[in-house]
């Protein structure tokens, strides 16, 4: 075969011509965008729309805007009526009766009590293999069903007629209303689920919606998806946005460029970006309900079991310097184990009520003193430990910073070990560590979400810290005081004070997200747990 020069030159010429032609016609798609369109970015693609099996934030956020549960979460995690226009709670706090309004699915079917019964049963059914089924633990018989000891029909939810749902719990659960407002408690249309079978909720078409918006474009694996206003939604008259275009931006710089060129109405910032835009008018910080804390392995040796040693390690850390100078991404210094802004009682934030400043602030002189005493008490002259953390940029920054802070303690040698998330997790769970930077994000807006982790013997209590007083407070909050708001609140306050006073964990920082939002975007509703965003009241002011 001869390589024909003419063909070859022709190819080059065609290529050049196409390139040049391409230069001339830059796309003009943004001009056609109508007024009430929101262009929103996510860091990862939408992986699922099945409320029984979805596990991630992007799915939660999309479902929260295309669906609606018995109740709805609003600003600052407040609870509003949803499909249920009202509800009553029995005296013992174990039975909830929800009165449903007449509302429709996007295909015109009526949303009835049976849709809730079906969805809840489907989620706890072991066959569904839901990773969030444990959220149903308080619903009567849920645990037995998940462990295949009882049939799904025994779940504590009954439909009384078409418009009344009665839920029975195993024990009073004060945060139950916020649970039923989250996507994993949303209704499902049985006939639709069965009609599409395996394809149900795997793309925009094979699904129905009962929320403010409906999904109108999504192939199931695409990086872009579109929500359009759902005219069948019962409160559609208050929904102003016509369309929301979601775009996956994996690279923060790309996302920022798209924002600057007007292709996005908001972008999350990361790396150096928050520092550069901190004084920008469009800069916003969003608090997440996630706390990062250090667990010390008390099973390792007498030093880690020594309270003074633990306190010294905590007192050596300058948390404000860390969040402001090192992370500088909207994160804040931890004020407790529970995240700030998660829950309040009579206008007082949990961390204000349950503050132990000495356990979450720096005092180097005191740290030195306590450290020396701890070394002496355990018969040591020096001590070395390995600090384990994630191998993410934030994980590396945290480990390096804490290493530098701990290096100030005389006779302490710290080695860092940054590992991939899953390796870190399995080593934590198996007790193969000295000190580890762990994190927990609350699933629902209640302090117990954090506090229940550190009871003795709990599988998330990696450091094996144990306190009888703490166990007692947590047991009271979830047991005998569960239906008494004031007593329960005090139990939880005492629990946090107990763990902080004993430095059972070393809280470091509360995660935050820095974001740029165009100033004409109004009415966004953000809440720190679960789905994070509600766009039903958002609009573009122009």
């Amino acid at each position: 075969m001869k390589i024909n020069s003419a063909v070859k030159l022709g190819t080059v010429a065609t290529f050049a011509a196409v390139l040049l032609a391409a230069c001339g016609s830059s796309s003009n798609s943004s001009s056609e965008a109508s007024k009430q369109t929101l262009n929103w970015m996510e860091n990862s693609a939408l992986p699922s729309m099945d409320s029984s099996t979805a596990t991630d934030v992007v799915s939660g956020e999309t479902m929260n805007n295309t669906g609606e549960g018995l109740l709805r979460i609003g600003k600052n995690s407040s609870i509003h009526p949803g499909v249920a226009k009202s509800y009553t709670k029995s005296k013992d706090g174990k039975t909830y009766t929800f009165n449903l309004r007449k509302s429709n699915w996007s295909n015109g079917d009526k949303v009835t009590a049976k849709d809730f019964v079906y969805a809840w049963q489907r989620t706890v059914d072991p066959k569904t293999a839901s990773q969030y089924a444990y959220m149903y633990a308080q619903v009567k018989n849920a645990n037995a069903i998940m462990n295949k000891k009882k049939p799904v029909s025994s779940l504590g939810i009954k439909a009384e007629g078409n418009y009344k749902v009665v839920v029975t719990l195993t024990q009073a659960t004060s945060y139950f209303p916020s649970l039923v407002a989250s996507p994993m408690f949303f209704p499902q249309n049985k006939s639709v689920v069965q009609k599409y079978g395996k394809k149900y909720a795997t793309n925009a078409q094979d699904n129905v919606y009962n929320g403010p918006f409906k999904l109108t474009y999504w192939t199931g694996t695409s990086d872009n998806w579109t929500l359009s206003k759902n005219t069948k939604y019962w409160d559609a008259k208050n929904v102003k946005l016509k369309k929301i275009n979601f775009k996956t931006m994996k690279d923060p710089q790309t996302s920022l460029s798209q924002y600057q060129s007007g292709k996005l109405d908001a972008t999350y910032l990361s790396g150096q970006q928050p520092k550069n835009y901190k004084n920008d008018k469009q800069y916003v910080e969003r608090k997440s309900a996630s706390t990062f804390y250090i667990e010390l392995n008390e099973k390792k040796d007498s030093m880690m079991k020594n309270k003074k040693a633990r306190q010294a390690l905590s007192l050596a850390i300058n948390r404000n310097q860390f969040v402001n100078k090192v992370l500088a991404d909207g994160s804040t210094a931890a004020k407790g184990l529970v995240s700030t802004g998660l829950a309040e009682n009579k206008g007082t934030d949990f961390n204000t009520a349950a503050a132990v400043p000495s356990a979450t602030s720096q005092d180097l002189a005191k740290a030195q003193k306590l450290w020396k005493q701890a070394l002496k008490e355990t018969g040591r002259s020096s001590y070395s430990l390995t600090l384990m953390a994630d191998d993410t940029p934030a994980g590396k920054n945290s480990a390096e910073f804490i290493q530098s802070q701990w290096a100030k303690l005389d006779g302490l040698k710290v080695t860092n070990s940054n590992l991939p998330f899953k390796t870190r997790l399995s080593r934590s769970q198996n007790g193969q560590f000295d000190a580890v930077i762990s994190a927990w994000g609350a699933d629902f807006p209640d302090p117990i979400s954090f506090l229940s982790l550190f009871t003795s013997g709990n599988s998330y209590n990696n450091g094996k810290w144990a306190s009888k007083a703490y166990d007692k407070y947590v047991a009271a909050a979830t047991g005998k005081d569960a239906n008494n708001n004031t007593a329960r609140w005090n139990d939880m306050v005492n629990a946090q004070k107990t763990i902080l006073n004993d430095q059972g964990v070393i809280p470091v920082y509360q995660q935050g997200k820095a974001q740029l939002v165009k100033s004409d975007v109004k009415g966004l509703i953000y809440f720190p747990t679960g789905a994070n965003w509600d766009f039903s009241r958002a609009y573009i002011a122009k």
Binding site: P47, P126, A129, N147, Q253, S257, K422, S426
Partner: protein, 309 residues
């Protein structure tokens, strides 16, 4: 030829089989579970979910089940994209990756040949120096740096091309340029070196002495002989483009499979890891087979069917 092809295809299948087997068992050594919510699940909860996915079976059984499925075209269901069959996940996302990869390859190699040839023909002139500088830059600047520079200047500042996303040929220009730079530089360097060599050989002198035109000598004799070593590097270049695409796709928000590969390994998404490994190794095998066949076409001295009598 047919016999040769049959043999090569047999080897291809054998290679894939070995790759599948090794990957499967290595992958099972990864710590952690494919469950995204693993951090919040207890051991017994994980065990219950594993039962549903058949992950509680011994690894050799899982392996045999996987092979049995794969032969019938069933590559399992993704964990990251829950309920999506891996075959659908990959087939719906491979298009953009292939398009960008092929465009980068074609652009890189063709322009590379032209640049290299011009450099050799005007050896030690400014043309040659420029060509050399271009190839050195192309090799030394990683594709992700070039991608960001192109995006900033041609996308954001000048507004000639879209900054990111996917939606038509115009969206492929910047990623193609970013990915094509290395193959361009590599092939330019190879063609130049080889052609300088060829141009000083006896048969070129003979051709010139016989009175052939300069272009005739270059195209019919020099260039063709210079292309043989270029074919050798096409395989490695293809690998280079495949790995480069993982980063470039992220930067330009291209809905391809590059990112899925990294993410599936990080999240223990077993079926997706397997699916992608099979695709990548298949593509590489095909490229290698293709280059071997090309050899025979470009250089008649290389007989792929064995001894030429």
């Amino acid at each position: 030829m047919a016999k040769y092809l049959a043999k090569r295809i047999f080897y291809l299948i054998l290679t894939l089989f070995i790759v599948i087997t090794l990957t499967f068992f290595l992958m099972k050594l990864l710590p952690g579970t494919p469950l995204t919510n693993q951090a919040k699940l207890s051991k017994s909860q994980i065990a219950l979910i594993y039962e549903q996915y058949g992950l509680n079976k011994p690894v050799w059984q899982q392996y045999l089940l996987y092979l049995a499925g794969a032969v019938r075209g069933n590559f399992g269901t993704s964990f990251q994209f829950s309920d999506q069959p891996v075959s659908y996940l990959l087939s719906s996302r491979i298009g953009p990756s292939l398009q960008i990869g092929l465009q980068a390859m074609i652009l890189g190699v063709i322009v590379g040949i032209v640049v290299g040839a011009f450099g050799a023909m005007r050896q030690n002139s400014w043309v040659d120096t420029t060509a050399t500088v271009v190839s050195i830059l192309g090799i030394s600047i990683p594709s992700f740096v070039l991608a960001v520079l192109l995006q900033y200047y041609l996308g954001l500042k000048l507004g000639w091309f879209p900054i990111a996303e996917w939606g038509g040929f115009i969206y492929t220009v910047l990623p193609t340029l970013a990915l094509g730079a290395t193959p361009l530089a590599e092939s330019a360097r190879f063609v130049r070196t080889e052609m300088v060599d060829v141009l000083s050989s006896d048969y070129i002198e003979l051709a010139k002495a016989k009175g052939l035109s300069r272009t005739g000598v270059i195209y019919h004799h020099a260039l063709r002989n210079s292309l043989i070593p270029l074919i050798t590097i096409v395989g490695p270049l293809a690998v280079n483009i495949m790995t480069g695409s993982m980063v470039v796709e992220n930067i330009f928000s291209i809905p391809g499979i590059g990112e899925q590969f990294v993410k599936s390994v990080l999240t223990n998404d077993y079926p997706t890891i397997m699916g992608l490994t099979i695709i990548y190794s298949f593509m590489l095998c095909v490229v290698l087979l293709f280059t071997d066949i090309l050899y025979g076409i470009v250089d008649p001295r290389i007989r792929i069917t064995g001894k030429a009598n």
